[in-house]
């Protein structure tokens, strides 16, 4: 099968949907003729013009609120934030409005709104271009939260987002945007709420999110040399969260570590740990463990930046500690 990057994969899904559905439009800064800072819309402006590829002033609250109104009235907007840190200027429009409109209208209005952007630490982007923020959105009823980690998943999950009637937060980690993977040329969808087993194993379960999936798989190679076979679960969507796949794995391994570069308090690891303790306590042979990024803003200097995000060595040590517990 041919191999394409994660960004090319989401662009294929977008292009196919835009060809079929003329209510889809994209807004963002530089998503028009320029094709997006991360090539998210390359080539689409030439096909669909400025009405459907609308460059925006730096006005995040404005165009997010505008797109919420558009989603309520018959179109399917996509907000391309470039860096998802910029979404914070629009939090009121999202949490108080987009997430609540379907409920407050008792299901008579829909909110088919996609909010996409790059997340994650890396490349010395510093603290205003390195956030992930998915725990914030997972906490709010009304949002779907998607964090793809392979080109194949990205295409199928984005295709699902493009036909969803719910607001979808689609978060692409910047360190894997240009990783290549096998992707079919035909269209397909991957349902929300189905985790992927990224590596099978029987000694320990690791749930990893975003770029941590790749680092965990690297750690698994080293652990396997020592005879530790880790099962790696990529949840793919954090809301809905496929806790059943995690429980099934823990039933087999008896041990659980969650690896996530976002902050630990009230994070996705806390949620997964709580649900496993509630529903799978008898399967646990050791306390559930978490490995998170440091509880600090993201610094610029490479030596400082590397110190705030979990690395392969730390994942190896965390698994070894868990196995010894």
């Amino acid at each position: 099968m041919r191999e394409i990057t994660l960004i090319e994969a989401t662009r294929e899904a977008l292009a196919a949907a835009m060809a079929r559905d003329n209510t889809i439009f994209v807004v963002g800064e530089g998503i028009g003729p320029r094709g997006g800072n991360f090539n998210t819309t390359t080539g689409l402006y030439d096909l669909y013009g400025p009405e459907r590829l609308r460059d925006m002033p730096i006005s995040e609250r404005g165009f997010v609120g505008m797109c919420a109104g558009a989603a309520m009235t018959g179109s399917r907007p996509i907000v391309d934030f470039m860096f998802v840190d910029f979404i914070l200027d629009a939090m009121g429009e999202l949490i108080n409005q987009a997430a609540k409109i379907q409920y407050m209208s008792s299901g008579r209005l829909k909110m088919p709104l996609i909010l996409r952007g790059c997340i994650g630490i890396g490349h010395s982007a510093a603290t205003h271009h390195s956030g992930s923020y998915f725990p914030h959105f997972v906490n709010i009823p009304g949002f779907r939260v998607v964090v793809p980690t392979t080109p194949y998943d990205a295409k199928g999950l984005f295709a699902t987002a493009l036909v969803s009637d719910d607001p979808v937060i689609f978060l692409e980690h910047k360190s894997i945007l240009f990783h290549k993977g096998a992707v079919p040329e035909e269209e397909y969808t991957i349902p929300f709420g189905q985790a992927r087993v990224a590596r099978a194993g029987q000694h320990c379960t690791v749930v990893a999110v975003g770029a941590m999936v790749g680092k965990t798989l690297q750690a698994c190679e080293r652990l396997a040399l020592a005879g530790i076979e880790v099962e790696v679960i990529d949840p793919r969507t954090l809301n809905p969260l496929d806790i059943q796949s995690v429980l099934a794995s823990v039933h087999k391994t008896g041990r659980l570590l969650i690896v996530d570069e976002t902050f630990q308090p009230c994070g996705i690891g806390a949620e997964i740990a709580a649900q496993v303790v509630e529903q799978g306590f008898d399967d646990l042979d050791a306390p559930v463990c978490r490995l998170n990024g440091a509880y600090a803003p993201t610094p610029y200097s490479p030596t400082l930046e590397a110190a705030v995000v979990p690395n392969v060595e730390e994942i190896v040590r965390a698994v070894e500690t868990l196995m010894a517990a």
């Binding site: 003329n22 209510t23 439009f25 009405e51 459907r52 609308r54 925006m56 002033p57 006005s59 609250r61 404005g62 165009f63 997010v64 609120g65 505008m66 797109c67 919420a68 109104g69 558009a70 989603a71 309520m72 009235t73 018959g74 179109s75 907007p77 009121g92 429009e93 108080n96 409005q97 409109i101 379907q102 409920y103 407050m104 209208s105 008792s106 299901g107 008579r108 209005l109 829909k110 909110m111 009823p141 009304g142 779907r144 969803s164 009637d165 719910d166 809301n239 809905p240 969260l241 806790i243």
Partner: protein, 339 residues
């Protein structure tokens, strides 16, 4: 998408039946609000109740130009907009009573009124978002190649908010079919607009965003109707957005049951009460439209009957089932209460 021929009269010439309809709509708002104020005192309204008393000419004059497929987005003081857009008084009262028959099925109360089937796309407890959402409706209507319009109603409290700046700018650069209707009632809760605004001439701000801006007497329904008519026609024809500043006054407290002292004088309230938009409309109908007083009395009796029956309907309506409290969080049915 059917395009209806315009029936709007030329400026200065208001069709008599249209003028009588202003009176009926304004009076329906007033009588419904007075009923809600009484119901609030009786404890039948469980949360806030922000009345529209004194501002009725604006909702009536603007909504007279709107079709059910035009989209209205409004603010916390939105009862009048919902009624003028066509929400029956009984569904409004039932909503404030928290009943299943309310326009939001009991999910919203005074500040969250939804009737999307007739283009009432929601009121909001947050000041400002309606401006952006109406802009978005305009985006949809332009993209879908229709002649529908989006309308935002908001108070003077919204125009010092970033949503106003960003929404008007976006509507202007995209030339969207949107009306921005500022109901300048002089106070944001109890903060005087004259204090809160570096430039208190809201209509003048239109030029800052490259769109027509008009300031008018918001207690004169004919003036509102004519200005809104021009703006709606321009929007439908692809001429882009308009900002209307309607100067008006809320004669009751910010919310029912709130103390209404310390920020304005009784003399000021009385001065504005003498400019009551409904009394002025009545005088206009009698003097300029030569309407017989009996015709107005008939409307007054009909409205009172409607409101009385609406209150009874609301009071006798069922409560929403508690088992439905987590429905419609997501579009798909049968979502669990938590993931």
């Amino acid at each position: 998408m059917s395009v209806q021929p315009t029936t709007d009269p030329a400026p200065g010439q208001i069709d008599r039946s249209a003028a009588l309809e202003f009176y009926r709509v304004m009076l329906t708002i007033r009588r419904t609000e007075e009923q809600l104020a009484r119901s609030h005192q009786q404890g039948l309204i469980h949360g806030a109740c922000h009345t529209y008393v004194g501002q009725e000419a604006i909702a009536a004059g603007v909504c007279a130009h709107l079709r059910p497929d035009d989209a209205v987005f409004s603010t916390h003081r939105g009862h009048g907009h919902a009624l003028a857009k066509g929400v029956p008084p009984r569904e409004l009262i039932a909503e404030l009573f928290g009943r299943a028959t309310g326009c939001s099925r009991g999910r919203g109360g005074s500040m969250h009124l939804f009737a999307p089937e007739i283009g009432m796309m929601g009121t909001s407890g947050i000041v400002g978002p309606c401006i952006l959402q109406a802009t978005g409706a305009g985006y949809s209507f332009q993209l879908l190649k229709t002649d529908r319009v989006g309308v935002a109603f908001f108070g003077d409290g919204a125009v010092n908010n970033g949503a106003f700046h960003e929404g008007l700018n976006l509507a202007s650069i995209c030339r969207l079919p949107v009306l921005f209707v500022c109901e300048n009632n002089q106070y944001a809760t109890e903060i005087a607009f004259a204090y809160a605004a570096g430039n208190p001439q809201v209509g003048m701000r239109g030029s800052a965003y490259g769109m027509p801006g008009v300031t008018l007497d918001g207690n004169d329904v004919v003036a509102v109707y004519q200005a809104a008519g021009e703006a709606v026609a321009r929007a439908r024809a692809g001429g882009g957005p308009t900002l209307l500043e309607c100067r008006t006054y809320r004669t009751r407290a910010h919310a029912e049951g709130m103390r209404d002292v310390g920020y304005r004088t009784q003399e000021e309230v009385d001065r504005w009460k003498a400019q009551d938009p409904i009394a002025r409309c009545r005088t206009y109908l009698l003097q300029k439209q030569a309407v017989a007083v009996e015709a107005l009395e008939q409307i007054e009796a009909d409205v009172q009957t409607t409101v009385t029956e609406a209150e009874r309907f609301a009071r006798n309506s069922p409560w929403p089932e508690a088992t439905t409290a987590c429905q419609h969080v997501y579009s798909e049915p049968a979502q669990p209460a938590s993931h």
